[in-house]
């Protein structure tokens, strides 16, 4: 509401769907995502890691004991790519890799204490920015924020997202 695009012939109900509004949304996503990743990136550079390491740490922390295959589905990368990242994390003693109990083909991934420490540091940095943004925008805006993001996901990603939300969020 209060949408000063100057084009009123469509009626106010659809003004938020003009090309200009959509373009603003696109550019907002671009610039915001840069901020979103900036703080963890700074920490990771010092350690010789990249964004891929952060993602792996995050989702292992989120689902301790998860399998490689599950992580693959969540992250949407190839196993070769993930393997490179996991290998360095295991070598550096941040992630532990144990043979599955039920199915010995599987590997269960967990964070070591050192891994948890780094993950919490990254999470804290990213959350701090998110908290500031949330606080500044207010609860209603946050609700809308998540509504739009959720509607923007591919269906399969949305399933993952909801599954994760339910797990931690009840």
């Amino acid at each position: 509401m209060a949408d000063p695009t100057g084009r009123s012939e469509l009626g106010e109900a659809l003004l938020f769907l003009t090309d200009d509004q959509l373009r603003k949304g696109i550019e907002a996503m671009f610039f915001a995502y840069r901020g979103f990743t900036a703080d963890p990136d700074r920490i990771l550079v010092d350690q010789g890691y990249g964004r891929a390491h952060h993602r792996a740490l995050h989702f292992i922390a989120r689902s301790p004991g998860t399998t490689v295959n599950n992580l693959l589905n969540i992250l949407g990368v190839t196993k070769q790519s993930l393997n490179r990242v996991l290998r360095t994390l295991i070598e550096d003693g941040l992630v532990e890799n144990t043979v599955g109990l039920k199915d010995k083909r599987e590997r269960n991934l967990t964070l070591t204490d050192a891994g948890q420490t780094l993950e919490r540091e990254l999470s804290f940095a990213q959350s701090a920015r998110m908290r500031k943004a949330y606080k500044q925008a207010g609860p209603e805006a946050v609700h809308g924020f998540r509504e739009v993001l959720e509607a923007m996901m591919d269906p399969e990603m949305r399933k993952m997202y909801i599954k994760l939300s339910e797990k931690g969020g009840a």
Copy 2:
């Protein structure tokens, strides 16, 4: 409003700032950004281009005649990195590079007809997803979406974003 997190001891006013809510926001950004870039990426692969080419095309289309330096500030990469992208786009006849009139050190960048065609195709694909998400979430949600994203940007990025918004959006 209507925030069913089940934890009421903090008082409803701050429930949207719990660690769990912040984590959901982080994961929503991650999954949504994948969707956000998925459609253009598919188109670009066929052409032998990447996401960097899309970004360059987008912001040249947005500010025809812009300089390399300006683009550098917007995109936040090194000039060498941008130059490689620009070179291929120029070689392929999608972007035109003319010596600056006032300052001959500068290069003014514009899209050729072919460049405009591709840029519109990419923009259309990305906008289509954004439109669907906007329509599904509704105008109020869209407002909140943009509020939060804007609050998440680094100050300098926010300046760029607002400057661009004003240019196209008046």
